[in-house]
Amino acid sequence: MPRAWIWAGLFALLAVALLLGVAVGAVALPWAQVVAGLVDPDANPIVFKLRLPRVLGAMLVGAALGAAGAAYQGLFRNPLADPYLMGTAAGAAFGAALGLDLVGALSPAYAQWIRAGGSWLVPVFAFLGAVGAVFLAVVLAGGVGRTKDLILAGVVVGSVLTGLTTYLMLKDADRVRAVFAYTLGNLAFIGWPEVVRLALYLLLGLPPLFLLARGLNALQLGEGVAHSLGLALGPLKLVLIVAATLITAGAVAEAGIIGFVGLVVPHALRRLGGGDYRFLLPASALGGAVLLVFADLLARVLVRPAELPVGVVTTILGGPFFLYLLWRMRARG
């Protein structure tokens, strides 16, 4: 499919996602009010204070996961790689559990509590946990030289941290629910401060990824060839890992662990528009933004007036979609 069409389609879908995301919810809003609320901050507080930050947050988190997934798939030359491969998710969950543990007693209404006083601790700990897990994996792998060792170290760090998280959760029954809610991913708590932080992570993390896209292309020919083409592999891989980890950790810290977006989006876009990372990285960011807004929309309406965690929706939708991709690959031989 021509890439211009894909871009046009993604931007059109993003616009639709924005409008629907703001219009749909517990309170139905007429379109005139939706548009007025988007144009004038004071026109409609539901639009501007509640729904718009949530939709923008979904876009930013989706963009982070899509771009990081594409970067990891390129770096590890593996279409099954995802943003959490090097331990970010397990590290974030452990950080969140530790944060909740340090804060101490939890009310059953953990959600409101987390966003009330002292709430900053959990995202900060989750962020540090995610970054720390990747750092540990890189150290255990003996640097970024051997890509396979990086994957193995990421898996080891991830399972050890998951074990520790489980231990922390079991110490306190309330904590099971809180950490569990966190690991399922949730966009319900995203407000303007979270949107600003997410935008900052992306502003720092996305440009290096986009600038190194041609290096990722060269890596697809193998590390020997990439080296012979003049790339300094160590710095290249290190910058890719740092940038992808920064945006993943930011997304996980603000929204919890949302699965399948970073796996499925780059995969689908590679099939549609090819594997040139100068296309695939920005397109995956855009595609991730679109997908997560729609997934969050479903999370909000499927069990109305209650809500599902968006991570549940992406996992339920993403699993079959992924099987479909595998099935089509096999059908084509």
Binding site: P79, G224, S228, D276
Partner: protein, 250 residues
């Protein structure tokens, strides 16, 4: 001039290459021969700077580790034996990656880049499938595309690791003719060769054994050394010179 002086490579304290001396110039074709595990690929990798080594590798007099990686990439191109097949990249996109050392990561495509890519696809006869995905080509076609990618840099030296592997006899002949032609046009060619008979078309061959160079010279002059290293081999004398064959009684 590409040269190695006292070149040694160690894997965990064990020498895979020991005190190798090697010199060749643009326009010359040098073949590396030797039994499995004799250090041919290790030598190629060390010349490319892919491995840590002791001793010196000099490109036109400059130690290769002191060159910028882009400068090295413009002069030395590499065709590995088995490269992974990239997903979702077309033949034209792969060949264009050969211009990376001239463009850098952010450089735009200039007319000379397009000209080099066009020339590389012309000589490797790969223009016909420029728009196809590399993953849809046969092994032999892929090999030619990878060669086009290496040539697109217009390097002074081209280092190839067993380039005739996986090719049928006709394509082996075409590839060897192309390498001969490139050497004639002034490119230095270094090939690791699995079949020693192919070294006949090279200018010179180095015979390695256990990480050391044990013989050096034109193919015909190396035949006695071959027979010593490969006891199972028979020599067939032909009008075109000696041919080495696996000695099996029918």
């Amino acid at each position: 001039m590409l040269e190695a002086r006292g070149l040694s490579v160690f894997y965990g304290g064990k020498a895979a290459l020991r005190d190798v001396e090697l010199r060749f110039r643009p326009g010359e074709w040098l073949a590396l021969l030797g039994p499995n595990g004799s250090g041919k690929t290790t030598l190629l990798s060390a010349l490319l700077g892919l491995l840590p080594y002791r001793g010196e590798v000099r490109l036109f007099g400059k130690e290769i580790r002191r060159l910028s990686s882009w400068a090295r990439g413009r002069e030395l191109a590499y065709l590995p034996q088995d490269a992974p097949v990239p997903e979702g990249l077309t033949v034209a996109e792969v060949v264009a990656l050969g211009r990376l050392p001239h463009q850098g990561l952010l450089g735009a495509e200039r007319p000379e880049d397009q000209e080099a890519v066009r020339w590389a696809m012309e000589v490797t006869e790969t223009r016909g499938f420029a728009g196809r995905l590399l993953s849809t080509l046969s092994g032999g076609e892929r090999q030619r595309v990878m060669l086009a990618r290496a040539l697109a840099a217009r390097p002074r030296f081209l280092l190839l690791d067993e380039p005739t592997n996986h090719l049928d006899l006709d394509h082996q002949a075409r590839l060897l003719r192309l390498l001969r032609r490139l050497a004639g046009e002034g490119m230095g060619i270094l090939t690791v060769l699995h079949d020693p008979n192919h070294a006949r078309v090279a200018d010179r061959a180095l015979l390695l054994e256990g990480g050391r160079v044990v013989a050096e010279g034109a193919f015909d002059a190396l035949v006695p050394a071959f027979l010593r290293l490969y006891p199972g081999v028979r020599v067939l004398e032909t009008a075109a010179g000696p041919v080495l064959l696996p000695g099996v009684e029918a």
